[in-house]
Amino acid sequence: MGISSKPALFVLLSALVVMVGTVVTMFLPLLMSSNRPVSRYVKPYTAVELEGRDIYIREGCNNCHTQTVRPLMTEVLRYGPYSKGEEYAYDRPFLWGSRRIGPDLNREGGKYPDAWHYRHLQRPQSLSRLSIMPPFGWLAANRLDTANTFRKTVIQGFGYSRRQVMEQIAGDRARLTDPGYDSKAMRDQVTPPERLGGLTEMDALVAYLQKLGRDVKSMEAAQ
């Protein structure tokens, strides 16, 4: 065949051949607005939830937990309503995962009180004796770094002002340190005393976990 003696033509032709499938299954869907579904019920993450999401990414939680419930009877029974595209409008990056060593988390928000998550993150085996999840108690010893939070929300396109971001952070801090906070006892137990007055990385992670699937519940209730 003549082409195997013409390298430049070969490069061009092979580039064209790999581009066909790429254009149809990747570039076209990228340009179709129907693949960027939105719902007025799905709200962006708050400042602290976004920081919690970044900790989820940093610790590689997505290596063991998926965030997509498939439209199968047993999955809906186990986790809740199946996942819809609208839910991920603010997910940058998406965190669907590819392996369930632990359960799916897309409907985790509101399933348990914060106290459950503090205890579970600190020592998963204290709630599920045979769990193989690593302990994450050390997250409570780390102060939450919010130096870049505003910039993060800007890049994510959440549309918050710097003031709104600061208010959200202050609001979460006030909520968690309030004597009336429903999970105060457990938070006090897992958090080192010197960190109790401020937000920790574990606080942010719990806030993120509690956000998962919350908006969808209002979306489905409205339908």
Binding site: D54, G60, N63, S131
Partner: protein
């Protein structure tokens, strides 16, 4: 052309790098497989499963496979074009940059700097370094093709060209991100679109790292090792073009039953099934190459690495499309079944072909005989046994867990809680660790054999 004018030092450099990262990647793999039945092994944040798993995958995909690809590519390119390497100093710089990037990659992933996109976890400064050393390789590849002294380009060169073109595109498109700091960035895509692009990347990264360049090795080193020409040139041509055409359509078979549009899923499944044909075209071509000389599988220690390797390629390319089908996918996806699938590919197909290629190539470039064929034989049987036990127990685990997750009581409630389905796998996880250890022992023999070969005193002239 005189053999001494070829640039061989660079090949040795990349071959050594491959072996080094192989040991690192497998050590990480053994560690995380231990963590899966002994959570106390999550000693520090740096060693916790979520961080170490990506060290395992990255060091074996990029550290090991990619540097083995560079090593063999620099060998094949020079032999097949009968030209010297155009820019040896550029290749040298590429070797240093490659290893620097891998060291930074391992350290940054353990520090949690991780963009979460599978097989594209590295943060943006490292993405740029990867692009630079990839471009350095491409410059040498295209330049040597231009100055080649052999008019016809052999099949292996086609696969290397397709790899170079496609990986460049995949890497750039999937890693478009906006930096927050030096260590953190966000991708420019969101939600459904992001998932679709990531798996277009993820699937084809496997295609164009773990398949095409390995096929280049198979087509070159199998005939070299056996002294037999590839059975059918026409079959090679048809397989090549159908493989690189169809591969790019199939990424979404990783996203079956997720919120991405159904038509993308169905198109991906259709092309996945189609891919069985060219994949098996390659397998049949390799088998028939030994036609009439089947005894080589016993008498020639190199032949069995290639023939067993391509057999696992054949099994995997049957299994892959089938597990994409919605019925099977509903049952197996997210389970250890898929872990078994990928390990048969990586430990069976990829590593066996690279092993055979190195055993042929290293003595050629050093002018020394292999230190021990007996050790190479033991290496072969150990990695074969380790791989088979590992993949089979993982499949068994996937079937078991899939069935338990699906089980329903007569009253319509779920029979098992999630944790029940997981704890039943712990004995399997212990077996997996054992299988990994057997495999690792085989790899240690491989590395030892190569080191001893290179450090041998040169053979006496005329001996």
């Amino acid at each position: 052309m005189d053999d001494s004018t070829y640039e061989y030092r660079i090949i040795k450099g990349f071959a050594y790098s491959a072996l080094f990262w192989l040991i690192i990647g497998l050590t990480a793999g053994l560690w995380i497989s231990f963590e899966m039945f002994e959570p106390a092994a999550n000693l520090t944040p740096w060693l916790s499963f979520g961080r170490l798993r990506v060290v395992h995958t990255n060091m074996l995909t990029f550290g090991f496979a990619l540097s083995a690809i560079f090593a063999t590519a620099y060998y094949m390119l020079q032999r097949l074009t009968r030209a010297t390497l155009p820019f040896p100093r550029l290749a040298r710089a590429q070797l240093y940059l490659f290893n620097t990037t891998m060291i930074l990659a391992a350290a940054s992933l353990m520090a949690g700097m991780n963009s979460s996109r599978e097989y594209a976890e590295l943060e943006w400064p490292l993405d740029i370094l990867v692009l630079i050393f990839w471009a350095m390789f491409a410059v040498n590849l295209f330049a040597i093709l231009i100055r080649r002294r052999e008019k016809q380009m052999f099949i292996s060169l086609w696969y290397l060209i397709a790899t170079t073109v496609t990986i460049t595109m995949l890497h750039i498109v999937n890693n478009l991100e906006v930096p927050v700091t030096l260590f953190k960035s966000y991708t420019v895509y969101a939600g459904v679109v992001d998932a679709n692009i990531q798996w277009w990347y993820g699937h084809n990264l496997i295609g164009f790292i773990f398949t095409m360049p390995i096929l280049a090795m198979l087509h070159f080193f199998l005939p070299k090792s056996t002294g037999l020409p590839i059975y059918s040139h026409r079959l090679s041509i048809v397989s090549f073009w159908s493989l690189i055409f169809a591969y790019l359509w199939t990424g979404a078979h990783h996203l079956i039953l997720t919120p991405i549009p159904e038509w993308i899923q169905t198109v991906a499944l259709a092309f996945s099934i189609f891919l069985i044909a060219p994949s098996w075209g390659v397998v049949i071509n390799a088998y028939y190459t030994l036609k009439g000389n089947g005894e080589q599988i016993q008498t020639n220690y190199l032949a069995k690495f290639f023939i067993f390797g391509v057999t696992f390629y054949g099994l995997q390319t049957l299994q892959g499309p089938l597990q994409g089908l919605r019925t099977f996918n509903a049952f197996f996806h997210f389970s250890d079944w898929v872990i078994g699938h990928v390990h048969m590919g990586a430990m069976g197909w990829v590593t066996m072909i690279i092993s055979g290629s190195f055993y042929y190539m290293i003595p050629k470039i050093t002018g020394k005989e292999l230190y021990s064929i007996r050790l190479a034989d033991i290496h072969f049987w150990l990695i074969l046994a380790g791989q088979l036990v590992l993949t089979i127990v993982m499949w068994a685990g996937g079937i078991r867990q899939g069935a338990m997750l699906k089980a329903i009581n007569p009253d319509g409630s779920l029979t098992y809680g999630f944790l029940d389905t997981l704890t039943t796998l712990y004995p399997i996880y212990r077996l997996r660790f054992l299988a990994g250890a057997i495999y690792f022992a085989g790899i240690l023999l491989f590395v030892w054999n190569i080191i001893r070969t290179v450090s041998r005193k040169p053979a006496a002239a005329g001996a």
